[in-house]
């Protein structure tokens, strides 16, 4: 089993686990944090699959923006105090165990991967230094998959419109 395989299995396992945490944790804050863990692992997975661009996007957009927004929302809606803090503290020990476990594995395998500094670049599907991935993606997005690309734009537009519509109604109701 090569290092790449090991990394793949670790990441998959961690993603499934954190996904389950996201779904089953009773505390919304935990859920959002588990989601963050999931997304970070996902980013590494993408990297492992050779698209370092997507990996970076994943970290920046999802981990950096979306999940933070989620957290804001969770804090904004009126949660019980204990849900926000006490339960979190009570399960701190469990969290610590997982943190150590994950951290250990995480460090171990990535040290392992990056320690093979010479061989690694050839192992990866796309050489990160001479990145073709971004170019390829761009070319596909604007030629062959142009239609889908535009379509996603329309979908986002609809979502914005819809949200504005619902909020507009809420607002008008409050005013009138």
């Amino acid at each position: 089993m090569s290092a790449q395989d090991l990394a793949f299995y670790y990441l998959s396992f961690a993603m499934i686990l954190s996904g389950l945490f996201t779904v089953f944790s009773r505390n919304p804050v935990h859920a959002v944090l588990s989601l963050l863990v999931l997304i970070v692992h996902q980013a590494f997975m993408l990297y492992l699959l050779g698209s370092e661009f997507l990996s970076a996007i994943q970290i920046i957009v999802y981990a950096g923006a979306v999940v933070v927004l989620f957290l804001f929302v969770v804090y904004l809606i009126n949660l019980q105090k204990e849900a926000r803090f006490r339960v979190f503290v009570r399960r701190f020990s469990l969290g610590l165990i997982f943190f150590i476990l994950f951290g250990f594995l995480f460090v171990k395998y990535f040290v392992l991967i990056f320690s093979m500094s010479t061989g690694l670049r050839t192992l990866l599907p796309i050489d990160p230094t001479s990145s073709q991935a971004l170019k390829m993606m761009a070319r596909y997005l604007f030629t062959e998959y142009l239609f889908q690309f535009e379509l996603i734009g329309v979908i986002l537009l609809v979502v914005v419109f819809g949200t504005v519509f619902l909020l507009r109604k809420v607002k008008e109701e409050r005013v009138g």
Partner: protein
């Protein structure tokens, strides 16, 4: 193959985007919402004609205008035209919901529908279905400010819809893994050469499961009654009629083009679910007292009937599936037009027992109900009977005699809920003379056009059914000829 960006092909889609965005932009400044109705109506009527002039061809690799998609779009847009009247009729009395955005979101959803049926690869298909669904989530929640039930219905539908998307993605992943492409025809050619087709069957299974959620097959159906009941009446009609037709047409296209090599396996997969759907949908409809809930379960059962054509695993069966859904679309629009009228009256006519003796007070409305319910029940002189008949016929021709017999038996059970409503309307005494509201042209147009269609297509069913059949043959022959 030459890569094409011929904007003429997507003219109707561009018009839909522009018009609905326009409505979004100006709605805040116009108090009288009739404008939205007029604009939507004119747009749709225009598109209905435009469909005939759009040349056949492909926009990139993923979007094709062909016999199949144009035909289905024709029915979708025609249905939407009728539905827009129902919208108007409904919103007149529910001023709190009377926003131009309701029309605009519907147009967006229609856009999604038209993309889904024109899709030539799986990603476009997926995106089309998402675009079809997302506006509907908002539409169900239209009334959110006044009624939390609507938000609940909307959110439930959303969660279930996400599940459906997940399944679709899983299927798409497997297909890509097996065939190395996502284009429908290439999937067909690549999968036909595979020595072991188990993965393709598996992908078809997951894909069908995803579509089963959208089509509300049993046991994927539980969202349907809640969502139907939570939505405003015309939007229920949209979900039950237009959405189902679009989703099913997309599925038929995929099965017909990509999964032809595993047609027989797909049929075997569908048999138990479809029979269960027809049975449970019909039996559950019996118990309902709320007429929309009853129609929701009936819609579940009717989706089951439509799938019978897929069980035949023959192209004419597929054609009859579409035919059945088209007839169901007309019937649904008709019956919801009537319900919209009833909802405008003071009495709570949504509960079936309250319809007691309606025939004495509102004979015309009762007669419309009679015809539409007969069509749903499959009573002979109506189009509903013919559509069912064609499906059973295709089953028999496909050699599925036992399935046909079971389906016939279940459809006998299925007549009961409708006859029950009719019994209440026609046989029971009238408690008190209800208040009346004038009908108006916006009531007459959708209800009588559908009435006319249902009766005419019951007496002369050949015109539309052979039209659809011919469409299928032409489509398929061109598809493989031009590869």
């Amino acid at each position: 193959m030459q890569f094409q960006l011929n904007l003429n092909l997507v003219a109707s889609e561009i018009i839909l985007i522009l018009i609905s965005s326009l409505i979004f932009l100006v709605d805040r400044f116009i108090k009288n919402k009739v404008y939205a109705f007029v604009i939507s109506l004119l747009t749709l009527v225009f598109l209905n004609f435009l469909i005939f002039f759009i040349p056949f061809g492909k926009f990139t690799y993923s979007y094709s205008v062909d016999f199949y998609s144009s035909t289905v779009k024709l029915f979708l847009i025609f249905g939407s035209i009728l539905l827009v009247f129902v919208y108007y009729n409904f919103l007149q009395d529910y001023q709190k919901l009377n926003y131009g955005e309701v029309y605009a979101l519907t147009l967006f959803s229609l856009l999604g529908a038209s993309i889904a049926v024109s899709a030539m690869d799986f990603i476009t298909l997926y995106l089309g279905i998402e675009l079809l669904s997302i506006p509907v989530y908002f539409l169900i929640a239209t009334n959110a400010v006044y009624d939390k039930k609507n938000v609940e219905g909307s959110l439930k539908y959303f969660v279930v819809g996400c599940f459906s998307s997940v399944l679709l993605w899983l299927a798409i992943g497997i297909i890509y893994y097996q065939c190395g492409t996502l284009e429908f025809k290439e999937v067909f050619f690549n999968s036909a050469q595979l020595p072991n087709k188990n993965y393709i069957v598996f992908a078809a299974l997951i894909l069908i499961a995803g579509f089963s959620i959208k089509m509300a097959l049993v046991p994927f159906h539980m969202w349907a009654p809640d969502a139907y009941q939570a939505s405003p009446i015309p939007i229920t009609a949209f979900i039950a009629g237009i959405m189902k037709l679009a989703v099913l047409s997309a599925l038929v296209k995929v099965l017909m083009v990509s999964f032809t090599p595993v047609r027989v396996e797909v049929r075997e997969l569908l048999i138990p679910i479809v029979l269960l759907t027809i049975l449970v949908g019909n039996v559950m409809a019996i118990k309902q007292d709320h007429i929309v809930r009853m129609l929701a379960y009936s819609s579940v059962a009717h989706a089951g009937y439509a799938f019978l054509g897929l069980i035949s695993a023959e192209f004419y069966g597929y054609a009859f599936t579409i035919y059945y859904m088209v007839i169901y679309l007309f019937t649904t629009i008709g019956i919801f037009a009537v319900l919209t009228y009833l909802a405008r009256l003071d009495q709570d006519y949504m509960m079936i027992p309250n319809l007691s003796g309606l025939s004495k007070a509102l004979p015309m409305v009762s007669f419309l109900m009679l015809v539409f319910l007969f069509s749903l029940a499959g009573v002979p002189p109506t189009a509903g009977f013919m559509a069912k008949f064609y499906l059973f016929l295709s089953l028999i021709k496909g050699g599925q005699i036992i399935v046909a017999i079971l389906a016939i038996v279940f459809s006998v059970i299925g007549a009961y809920p409708y006859l029950r409503v009719l019994k209440v309307i026609y046989m029971d005494p009238l408690p008190a003379e209800p208040s009346k509201v004038s009908y108006g042209l916006t009531f007459f147009i959708p209800s009588f056009v559908t009435l006319f269609l249902i009766i005419i297509l019951g007496i002369f069913p050949d015109y539309v059914s052979s039209f659809i059949q011919r469409t299928f043959y032409l489509y398929l022959s061109l598809l493989y000829f031009h590869f």
